[in-house]
Subunit: 353 residues, 4 copies
């Protein structure tokens, strides 16, 4: 008697809100198609180490509103493990999988594409990253929640800024792009938004400080500045890990507490004489209950992934393009970074100062 | 000396979150272009009655996160007032306006289109309605916030449903369409979603009850049902205003407390024997702080309206199409209703039962 | 070999946020004392029907922030079941329990007291009810969350009230007392609060309407009115179940959609001519994630219950008195109702009008 | 003709949620008593510089839910200004004030007490501080909101901790005491809470690390650690301002990004080998909309302040003691710090590990 056809699912890279909604959607769509669903634990690691569990309609119920991933995740790349791709392939075969759904950001999905091209691993990718920098999809899972959390934080900072006549700087996530900074800054009505896409040279720093001085003179005695963590200063990255700013030396391995945010806060205070405070949103912006928008996107992308499995259309990434849920070949997103379009940033910029 | 060029703004129809963000965006974009901005109070009423105020950069600051509309609104249509269109035109001229920005739903914008066509009133429309039924734009201002509020309410009902092994019915807004019901239901993972677009005849009611019985038998001892207020039963509207259900008579003018929700709850309880409770979200879903998505949309649409004014491109409605902010002739949306596409509903339907 | 000593826990009556936090606290405190914890399913029903499960440190982890009760609940009273008390006692003995922790409101805890007095059942009560009407404790579990939800709803209604120049009426829970109405009304700055403790006779209705008219004349063109569901009109209860208002007849069994709220809204609109809208918060106010205050209270009361078990001090209810966590004999709360003190209401009243 | 009797209000020290609710309550209670209310801008500064505004029923409406303070605040102490007390007194007389209501934390209220004792300034104090360390009152305004924000942040961190099998450290405010850490940690079910009241010597650090290792061994592959910013390590304060940890040198003036949090995170990761991440909540925990509990407390304390003015009972601080709103002589709180009681901490401690 033939055993059931099997689909595997794994989540790789950093976690984010909406992963569980996508896992649920894929599982609940393929199960009635006759598949058994295997959840691979801790990203690629679980495929190599044979750590997994069956996902049925019970274990995927009641998780649509849960942050993180019930599967666990890791940043391990099989490309950096000895004989990694083969071990992944062996793990895949050992489980008797017909297809593998991979939820990941640009890094994880690039690996996925390579495994498809080199080994013919039958994969489907689903884009997730609060940074929103995966190409070919308007939004990745997790982004909308991160924007909402950052916007609420900025709203809170505004009341303190007003009461104390201060400049408040908030550093948000965004290694290579300023999506969260731009969207949350626009939603809050921030007075300045600094992102990696727009070089922060001395001229621009001076403009920023002049604008803050002008606001103060006009009697607008507070300002909100949002900065993406990956924003470089005068073309140089600011260490994000504890760091001795004066030495440019990384003295501590714990990350998440602001790098460019501190530096820019320091500069503002020195140059303008305006009292300045810095906060860094850190891991708070990537956890917890996803907003409705992320749950709906994750559900739609998960259902599309299930359809691709049924169609045996492998090597694709599900995507949101305009108002359409579609898919694109995974190789189109490899090693690319989707930056914030200048015309979107320009809309936010209208309200600066 | 020439006086300043002037732009008027008004909000008509029901209020919703994000109106202030759009007012702010339009005003803050046109002021630097050299315009003075006049806020018309209480919709068309304020143009007829000459009630208005100057909106400067101070009065439009700090309002991006405020629900409702600082201008006030009313449901008065100039088409139903004696000599209404002419009086609107006179009010417009008296204020020396060059253009008028109208924030409204399908009703208000249809009136706006007619005033443009019949009298040449130089208007720009911006779509807003939590119902999301304005054609030619993917989202109208207010919809995303309503979906988030409804989703959070459904999340809350779920814990009670589980604890008491009940069917919980939530009635949400949606006069002619089921946008909020479909999106919030999908985000919550609801077990059934009833919307005006899908006729609720006896067969479908029976299917619904059978599904609820099946869930109970499978040990899933609770269910969540979302119903849009405009859903008709067996082709007949259910009175939404106090009402004597048995007589079909409207015995009370106060609205907002559930019509079809109560009826469908009654039917479920009678037919299945499952304990059922009904809630109606009412006005809570249309007020308060807008979510980030609505603030960003409102900002982008407001900026686009400002650009149309500068281009003297009147008779247009700003719109979101895919990921583009654009505009369409107002007449394209007159008397139309944008219903929930069947393929979107089908995605939600996968998770029923 | 002696088997482990066992403690049972059950939740009775309506569910509310914070029950799981209390279950967790009691279990995690008694387990290290050497007890095994048995969760009784669905209130007293589970003791009669022998439905239960072992609660260990795994099954009570990760539930502190979950609404409802993982045990399920029911409104069944053993006093209304044939031979109920004996069957409860038999169930208790069959499980080999040493003590039983009962989470309930005034009704469930009164039953608990009677079982203690009549049969010597070794019980500990923990007070929970969003209505907050259990005597001898300042707060019952669930109340603080309900107040927060109702306050947020009122905040949302305020923006619509302002935009439309309306009177907004919100009906909140409170069968016999006006705790939620008073606290949420005070937190929102409501213009009138109607509660069962203050008779709503014709004179008071007239005063209310006059105040609303006065506000309108002063240019305060909106008002917020909060009413507790149990508020009687002219000494008569208003049917809360669908109802034909004109006939005073209960035409429908589905509850939760506003009774006195609709009636008072009708009266206001008729007497003042001010546009009035009514919402009923319904089941939304009793579900979902508990606020920090409820989790802390539930934790402290659960720990105290564990200590009482260790001390074999049965027949007690844990309680918050001032800033002290203590306990009182259960019989002190039997059939009593803790009403809102007049001096608390008077503080809210200062801000009316 | 006699001019109106006048009352002044000022807010000093750091801002927090609920200040506006207290300003509103005091003003709206004394205005009907026949007083005119003068809002002093920016704390004591405004009394010295004669910056103020009339607060009437319009300017104090609609602010109950607003974070920060409409009056502005500053940390200036008149005791550190040349001839400060006399200048305050002159400012007070120039405005023709009969009494002055001061909202402040321990620092501001100690100054207030001294001005009362030395110069007979007729003052009433109202306690506010998210740190909750003012003596003689159970809660100060702002604390409950800070606890709720910190709890929600911990809830969000938990999902990431679980997904990545990490230790997550959150640093919260609390210069001298661990109130926020203890309450939010208890509400979240944190695995360890580090506060200034409990010395963090090497032995305790070792215990903490052992517990984290034990959890990992038991398969609980994540942990949440909350630490109050003022917690000292081995009896030495950790610099909270940018800092070069290795040199113990303060290399940067911008504060708010974690000190002890980073250090303890480093130590945990080194000693246990468990992946550890640190976040610092910073200014986000002190701004924005107050929770219902803070609005109610602020309202009750503001009303009590008004009553004290009417009774001419000066030199008092309003206070919450148990469930009573009362007042105590200001001198009772001078230079004191209310620490977290050991028995409260012990309740939280039960759930560690």
């Amino acid at each position: 008697m033939a055993s059931k056809r099997r689909v595997g699912i794994l989540t790789g890279g950093g976690d984010c809100p909406g992963l569980n909604a996508a896992i649920r959607a894929t599982a609940k769509t393929v199960i009635p198609m006759g598949y058994e669903v295997i959840g691979i634990r801790n990203g690629w690691q679980g495929l190599i180490d044979d750590e997994n569990e069956i996902l049925d309609s019970v274990s995927t119920s009641g998780i649509i509103d849960r942050g993180g991933t019930i599967l666990g995740t890791s940043r391990l790349s099989p490309l950096r493990v000895e004989n990694g791709p083969q071990r992944v392939f062996d793990g895949f075969r050992k489980l008797g999988l017909e297809a593998l759904v991979v939820l990941g950001g640009e890094g994880t999905l690039s690996v996925t594409s390579r495994l498809f091209n080199s080994m013919g691993l039958p994969v489907i990718g689903i884009p997730k990253t609060i940074d929103n920098d995966v190409e070919e999809t308007d939004y990745a899972i997790g982004f909308q929640t991160a924007v909402q959390i950052a916007t609420e934080a900025l709203d809170r900072l505004r009341s303190t800024a007003e009461s104390h006549h201060r400049v408040m700087v908030l550093e948000v996530m965004g290694h290579h792009t300023g999506w969260i900074a731009t969207y949350a800054g626009m939603a809050n009505g921030a007075d300045a938004i600094l992102i990696p896409e727009i070089p922060l040279d001395n001229g621009r720093v001076e403009e920023l400080c002049q604008m803050l001085r002008d606001r103060d003179k006009k009697g607008k005695r507070f300002s909100i500045v949002v900065v993406a963590e990956g924003t470089e200063l005068a073309g140089k990255p600011v260490l994000r890990h504890g760091f001795d700013i004066t030495q440019g030396e990384n003295i501590c391995r714990i990350e998440g507490l602001g790098g460019i945010g501190i530096v820019i806060g320091e500069i503002i205070e020195k140059k303008t004489g305006l009292e300045t405070r810095v906060s860094s949103l850190g891991y708070i912006q990537r956890g917890g209950t996803p907003v409705a928008g992320d749950r709906i996107l994750a559900t739609a992308l998960g259902v599309r992934a299930a359809e691709l499995i049924q169609e045996k259309k492998y090597g694709e990434m599900t995507a949101l393009q305009g108002s359409r849920i579609t898919s694109v070949p995974l190789e189109k997103i490899v090693d690319g970074i989707k930056t914030v379009p200048l015309d979107v940033y320009k809309v936010a910029e209208i309200f600066f100062g």
